[in-house]
Symmetry: C2
Subunit: 408 residues, 2 copies
């Protein structure tokens, strides 16, 4: 019983801390995810020591992984396949520049600075990759708070951010696969892993579009209570596990699972029944990641300086993505800044680095990425608020589709 | 990652099995909890081996314990303090006989048969104690299915069952405390543990009645999303942990937590937000208990025979509790049978036996208790259905208050 009570207390401490972090951030108009990460860093093993160092497969680390699977499932659920096609060239162009530019800047900087030590190439690759994602949730929230979700800038950014989420996950999968495989880097590996990832997504989406309405209708038809929520949960978990078995990260499977679950046309019910689970488990993921960060490394002058440099490059890399929208009557500053926050997707890179790539990615590098995630995520709402309050936008109102994602 | 995927799969297997068990039982008009227990026995470590032997503090055992804490929290939530006072002498008399008679029969039989080996006294005490509880949920469900919840028999049984739930938990706490303490049995210990348990409940209820409206109003007032569900969850967990620290089982704290949470007058919201969690975690508890049962021991002729004998005594013990309602125009058969199912509370005794008392309570004894729980729980709905279909009852309709508890 003693050990189980310990786990109860660990979970309670994490949830209370997450709530405090989220609420403090809300009061200064910052995303909850940053608050959860920071309290994790403060109370964690290397900080105040209120939490132990969690082994993989331990209760808390497992709940955290379930949390991130549910988070990606929810992101997938919000990703409408058909809207993609309609997005138009602007969003896609912004998305592509927004992946290539930060990657090039990050890769180049780490390589040029010689930060990678013996694993120069691998580490430059990983840091570059970690800079590619854009957090849909955080940008959508800031525009939403200002009633500006229907502006064409917001629509462009959100479209581009969804594309970058997917590209970011693909890049993560490929990079993690490359770094995880022993031996020399070979183009063959790159091709195999990319092929696997794309193949998995395509097979899941094609099969899933047909099967998912049948599966979710089946859940609805079984009368014993709780079948729908249990079924949806198992669905997300098993797609996560399936991705693992073809050599991909579970979050890729969970994301694909969310995309096809949406095809059941029961998105609203799935989201509302899963919500309490997400409220409890997603914050555990962010506090958990924070708790594994060595606060002394994070605060060391050298890491801090490199962190600020990489943050600047990450910001610039996304800022130039607005070039994709030039000359079409957009406020390009808004787009450039709106693409900047890495938020939860950036932290998923950190989680993968600490779980499966800890032999290659050093604590210093992880801390630099964390600085990059924090700075790009915190700076965006501040700048956006300032610009949006000055600039009158074409359309302002609330948009149901982008209701507060759990991560905020 | 490998270990985490293993945990994902364990959880998925448990949930799928629980759903199958629950749905099969529903089709033959039996309580879901029995289906969950049986599939657990079948697929568990000693059965098909689809699940490993779970260590305490492992992911699954922790989720199961959280599940039982949430279950008891929900039971507490349904327990209205004021209704107790109005219950009248009939319910209370039925409740008292329903505790004393099964205890005496169980204690006497185990002692007389010499089943306890070296721990004769302790084991007789434990088996007697395990026979005292009555499952409110299962009886309420059967009466509800037949639209007979407002009959005076149903009200009497449900009142008595709630009292027996509380007495059962108190007895479990005292017996577990006595058996857990090293050294000789002494009346002093009995007094101390009983005093502690009663003291804890009284202090929690008195303080809680005042504090709980303040606490839950505080949760409502914090604007960051998910505060209410997170707060309610932490509330249940911390009361469980508090009970542990004064030497009681966490479920006693969770139950008390539910009782005082109801004083916030937000029962409906708490219940509806907690529901998805309960749907997922409560079945994990029952499958988990089943998975720890040695199917060979359970099926051995000797254990089976003793199991049937103890089941018979358990049935008779509760049947005679109807004496408390004699001569007042009740259908006493209905009351006697309605008091019989041990359901989830009986299984909590099993869980305590396997977690904290495994050095005293043998596998044989645990298997006998499991038989007793299964038989008394399965037989009651069958007999009640038969009688209720013949007897016209004074009032028949649906009663919102006793909406399907999650355990069914």
């Amino acid at each position: 019983m003693e050990t189980i009570i310990e786990k109860f207390l660990e979970i309670a401490i994490i949830l209370v801390a997450a709530k405090i972090g989220a609420e403090l951030m809300r009061r200064i108009n910052q995303p909850a995810v940053i608050g959860e990460l920071i309290v994790g860093i403060i109370i964690g093993y290397y900080g105040l020591g209120l939490l132990p160092h969690f082994e993989k497969g331990d209760v808390v680390s497992t709940l955290a992984e379930i949390g991130v699977v549910l988070l990606l499932f929810e992101v997938g659920l919000e990703t409408n396949l058909e809207e993609f096609v309609e997005l138009g060239s602007t969003s896609i162009l912004v998305a592509l520049i927004g992946v290539v530019a930060p990657f090039a800047l990050g890769y180049g900087a780490i390589y040029a600075l010689g930060l990678g030590g013996d694993n120069q190439f691998e580490i430059a690759l990983f840091v570059g990759a970690a800079m590619t994602a854009t957090s849909v949730g955080i940008t959508a929230r800031v525009f939403g708070d200002l009633g500006a979700l229907k502006s064409k800038e917001a629509k462009t950014i959100i479209g581009a951010a969804v594309v970058d989420d997917i590209l970011g996950l693909l890049i993560l999968t490929v990079v993690a696969g490359l770094l995880g495989s022993t031996g020399e880097f070979a183009l063959v590996d790159l091709a195999i892993i990319t092929g696997k990832a794309l193949g998995f997504l395509i097979v899941v989406v094609i099969l899933g579009r047909k099967l998912s309405p049948i599966i979710f209708n089946f859940f609805v038809k079984i009368p014993s209570p709780g079948t729908f929520i249990t079924g949806s949960f198992i669905f997300a978990m098993l797609l996560g596990a399936a991705a693992h078995f073809v050599g991909l990260h579970p979050i890729v499977g969970a994301f694909a699972g969310g995309v096809i679950a949406a095809e059941s046309k029961m998105t609203k019910r799935i989201r509302s029944e899963m919500k309490p689970l997400n409220f409890l488990l997603v914050p555990i993921f962010f506090v958990y990641i924070g708790s594994e960060v060595n606060i002394q490394t994070l605060a060391s002058p050298e890491v801090f300086l490199y962190g600020m440099l990489v943050s600047l490059l990450a910001f610039v890399g996304k800022y130039v993505s607005a070039l994709g929208a030039m000359g079409k009557g957009f406020n390009t500053s808004l787009i450039g800044i709106g693409m900047s926050p890495r938020g939860e997707v950036g932290l998923i890179f950190v989680a993968v680095a600490t779980t499966t790539l800890s032999s290659i990615i050093t604590e210093d590098i992880i801390s630099i990425i964390i600085w990059m995630v924090i700075v790009t995520t915190v700076i965006a709402p501040i700048l956006l608020n300032r610009i949006l309050q000055k600039v009158p936008l074409s359309e302002r109102d609330d948009d149901e589709r982008f209701e507060t994602p759990v991560v905020e």
